[in-house]
Every structure is written in structure tokens, then in C-alpha cells.
Amino acid sequence: MKEDDEVLGLIGDAARSFVRQWGGAALVRKRVSEVVDFNREEWNAVIEQGWLGVMVPEAKGGLGLSARALTVVLQQIGEALVMPPILNAMATAVLLAGLDTSYADELLSDLLSGEALILTALPDGASPTLLPALAHGWVHDALGADGLLVWDDENRQLLHLGADQMHHVKSRSTIDGGSISTVTLPDGNRRVVADGTAALQALSTARDVIGIGSAAMALGCAKQAFEITLAYMKERKQFGAPIGSFQALQHRAASLHVALASSESFLVEASHCFNGPNRSAASSAVRARSADCALQVVKEAVQLHGAIGFADEHDVGLYFRRIVALASWHGNSAAWRRHYCRSDRAEFESRKMRSSEPDIPTRGAWNLGQ
């Protein structure tokens, strides 16, 4: 599905105008310095945009657009440091729409209407030394969630935790003003949304949405950090000249441009592959490439600012911390590349690692290569 440039232009414009109201450094600073409650008004504004159903078929109440449209929105979201769990909710909507059961449809309708904020905990294992060993899934920036989908690997069931079961969720603050939440399985009142291969397939799609979506957010965010840095290089004078005239710094900026421009091209290409056989390979690869690129950009952005870049008062640090968080979402780049290796596309090792059913790694599998 490839909509024309006009539709993408419109959705991009809508996102730009949304983030003018709801994005920006001030809100992030507030989240970092104090305990912030879920902002219902802001979430309602997200619901009004219809973004959560961006990739959900129109017949199920969505916009019926492509992964490209999703990335166009999320690049803006990332650029403006918008924090609510828009990406995860988008992925959850795709997951639910793919299940095609009446229970899933009901949850989807609640999610899209704003009735409930349902997110998906990806079963990507936890580091036993730091986070609860019994966690069955992770979800990032889940503030405001009153429903969660979590995979019970033992019984091969996808469970829905309702508002009454949110005590199974434990959240910790992250450096970007967001949070990591770990989820454990409920003892009783097991609401099964789906099971077996169908459930795994849906989860795998959600993971791929999160892969490409977090790539888009990271690139949007890194691009903005780069723009801020370029502006500073043109204005800041030392030794009687703008520091941007020094060749040593120019070449580093040029390297960042090469990394960013190529990652953005890769994002476009990967989003066009989303409905084809290379979906998982493309999303994992673009996520790994974008995270590596974004980390390179923000580290350099701080360095090129000098001391003011290290000072809290300057906004570049907000982008730095956001990227450090985003780059670790559901695993580092090596972990996402490991997932790429399991896809049909990868030439090597794939035979050994490929299995006949959709691949959702069980506990611990996402901490490889650290």
C-alpha cells in the first residue's frame, strides 16, 4: 500500500501542528523534575488525530494507511520530544486488528475511541540482576495505561490485563523523563485474547511496528539535535571565527549528515517493505541502523556544543537522553540485528536460528551482544 504524496503531506502537516501544542522541551523538563500525572487532554488530542489506527483497516475504524504514514507521524513525535505512548498504542492497534476475534475487536474499539489506553508488553526478557526476574514483558513510557497485553509463554496465550490488574505492572523512571514498566502474569482472572500461532504472529507484527516506529522517532529526534547543533556552529565564535568554519568540526558534521541522510533513506525503503516478505528483516535492520546513527549524532551534538552542551540548561541534553533511552527500547542494536539474523533475508546463521513459527524470543533472548 503506497498512498500518494498528498496524503503523506497532510498527515505530516497535522503532526507538525499537533507537536507545536504538545511537544517541546518544557514538558520534558517537567517530567524529569517532578512526578507528572497522565494528561487526559493530551491523550484525547492524540485520539482525535486518529493516529492510533493509522495502519488499521478502515473497516475496523482505522485510517487504513501504510507504515510510511506511521513513520511520518513518528518522526515528528520524536523531533518534538512528545512522550505519551503513541507508538506502542499504534502497534497494539495493529496487533488487535490482526487477531480478528470479537474480544480483540472490542479492545481495539476501546483503544481507538480513547475509552481505554491499552499497550503491549513485548516478551523480551529481563536482565535478572536489575529488573524482576519474573517479569514477562516490558513496555516503555506506559504512563496512563489502563490495559496491557502480555504473552504467557508457558501456556502460549496472549493475556489482557485490565484496569483492575495494573498492580502487576512495576514502573521505573528513565533518564529521558519516561519509564520502563515490567509486567508479571496475573494469578487469576485470565482474559485470553488469543493463543498459539495466531497470537505469536500478531505479537511479531506489533514488535515490527515498534521496531520501525522507534527508528522513526529516533531519527526525528536526532535530526532535531543535529539542526540545533548546526545552528550553534554557525553562531558560536572562538578564535575570532564561527566554530563551524573549522575544518575538523565541519568534517564531523558532514559525517553526521551522511549517517542521518542514509538512515532516513533506509527508513523510507523499510516502510515500503512493511507489507512484503521482508517486513521483520526491514524493521529490525532499520531500527538497529537508526539507533546507532542517532546515538552517534547526539553524542557528537553534545561534544560540538562544548561545556554548554553538558549543562542542564541547554536543550541538546534532552535529545541526548531521549536517544539513549530510545536506542535501548526492547533491546540494543545488536539485539535487533540478532532478530534480523533470524529473518529469511539474512544470509548466514539464519538456517540455524530460524524456526517454523513466528519468532518471538523468549526470556533472555534480547540481551545478547551486550
Binding site: 563551524g244 558532514a254 515500503h272
Partner: protein, 380 residues
Amino acid sequence: MLRSDTGELAAFRSEARSWLRLNVPPDLRFLTFRPEPHLGMPWYRKLAEKGWIAPHWPKEHGGMDATAAEQVVLFEELAMAGAPDIPTQGLNHIGPLLIKMGTGEQKAQHLPKIVQGDAIWCQGYSEPGAGSDLASLRTRAEISGEHLVINGQKIWTTWGHHADWMFALVRTSQESDKRQGITFVLIDMATPGITRRPIRTIAFDDEFSEVFFENVKVPLTNVVGDIGKGWGTATAVLEQERLLLGSPAIALRALERLRRLVRVGMVQTDDRLLDLIARAEIEVDVLTASFLNVAENAAKVGGSDAAYLKILATETTQFILDVLQDAAGPLASLRLSQAVGGEKLDLNEMFLQSRRLTIYGGSSEIQRTIIANRTLGLPR
């Protein structure tokens, strides 16, 4: 290429694959060095007869008018088939330049020979004192009646010792702006007064040469563009040249070498190496996506940001060959190709050769300065 082949593309790929399987000469497969003309040009002509020698050229001049995706399919299939490298100065540089800037006579004289493989071209830009600072070139050309009389020296001329023709920048007058007073001229390498001397490279081949000019008479009709305005002529198709220098063709060949090394089972693929190999594969996809994106945007909106592609293509190729060197372990320094299990393995020949990629055609440092000043608007 990550995207799935559409119907037409899939048909083209399948045709290319079977044709290449039958037609790439077995003794030229997976060669590292560009085969010398007596070996390589028959293959060039075979590809030309098939109509696939100039995918990016317009049909009226013997090209394919191929889309970017079709070009990528051809690059991928050529790499997989182990097709040998061919000379590209005619196809990628002077050909497109003449199509845009040449006179009717110049086009009629030269374009068919480039497409048919009847003339090998070299580029006469660099001089001993004018490398990255190209505008400092000093090879002089005096106008004498209907001729230019050329004296001076070119160096680092790729395939200069094999070429039939050279396109060159020569100085026809001294101006305060160094870029003025340069003239773009086509030189028949058989003209009396030209001496060529091959230069051996660190990769053990004679890929480039020195070319000396002593009172070399070239007809004024061989000037492309106006006298003294050669800098503008040389940069007239710069965007297209950057696009071609940024194609994934060479990186795909490098990746194919890495794949062959792993396939024969000579490499212990531990987690670390697997991750590097995955990165190598992904980086080629990134390069291909960038090439497609830039080319498709250029076709759609007429402008493009191709400046980053040359850096990306060459550094990606070097990265893949670094991984290959790494994977080869203690055998990394073995000279010449190795035969293992019926496969010819190149452990470091392409690695050695690839050093030149980030130097020729405007070094990576020059490219970065261009990006900083023109694309990013950083002050000079």
C-alpha cells in the same frame, strides 16, 4: 534490495540471472582485478550486444533508460554472477557529459564507440601539483590556428596506459580566479607527443599511470563547451556522476566476497562476527536504499542531495572488506586468491584495492568539505 520485485522487475531479474549464468566467461568470474583490455573488453562487448552496458543512458544513445530499481537489480545480479569489473570512464563520465554538452559531431564520433566497447577512455584531471586542489592544474594549452598545443603532465590517470582517448582539463589562460581559464578537451591518445608510464599500486596492479604531453596538437573541434570555461563543463553532470559513484555496485561485489568466504565454512562464526556480518548486510541495504531514494527523488523533483552518496558507497565497501579481513583471521594476509572447495576466495585483494575508493573522484575529505559548505551551510 529490501523491496520486493514488482512483476516487471522480477522478470528482468530472472532474465538477467539466467543470461549471466550462461554468458559470464568462467575464467573471468570473481576476478579481483579489472581484467586487462584483451581479456575484459570481449565481455564488455557481450554485455553491450545484450543492450545492458549502459543502463542509465537514454535509449536514443544505446542505453536502457533504466529505472533506479532496474539498475540495482542489474548490479545485484552482476555481483552474484561474479561478473568482472569493466572500465567506466566512458560510460559514467564522458558519455553522460557529451550527451549533455557535446556538439553533434562529438556525440556521433564518440558515443557509439563507448557503448559498443570500441574506445576506452581515461580522465586527465589530476596533476603532480593539483590533486584535491584541482583548479591549480598547470598543463598548458596554447591556441595555434585550428589547434590546441598541449604541454604538461597528468598523473594518477586510471587506465591511462590502456586508453584510446582522454578527456582532460588544460589551462588556456591565467586568470585571478583559478577556475577560469581552464578548457575541457578530448585527446586522442595516439597523438604524437604523448608518453605514458604505468604506476604500480599497493594492490600489486597497474591500475593508473602518468601521462606526459610534449607539443601535443589537438584540433579545436575537440573542445567541449567554451574555451576557458572547462570547469563548468567538467561539473555539468556532477550530480549524475555522484549518483553513479554512489551506486551499490562495488559494495555488492564486496559483500558477495564475504558471503563466499562464510559459505565455504572457513570461518568460525561466533556471536561477534555474526553481528558484524549482519551489519555488513544491513549497510549494503542502507546504501541501496539511499541510492534508490536519491535517484528516485532526482527523477521526480529534478534536484537531489547526492553529495553524501559517494562517501556512503565507498566507506560501506571498505567496512565490508574490513569485516572480510576480520573473518579471514590468520589467513587475512595471504597473497593472491585461494582455491577452497572449488571456490575462488579473495581474502584481501579487493581490500587492498578498495583503499583508492575514498581517494579518487574527490577524496572523502574533499566530499566532507563540500557537504559542510554546500549542504549544511557551514561558513567557509
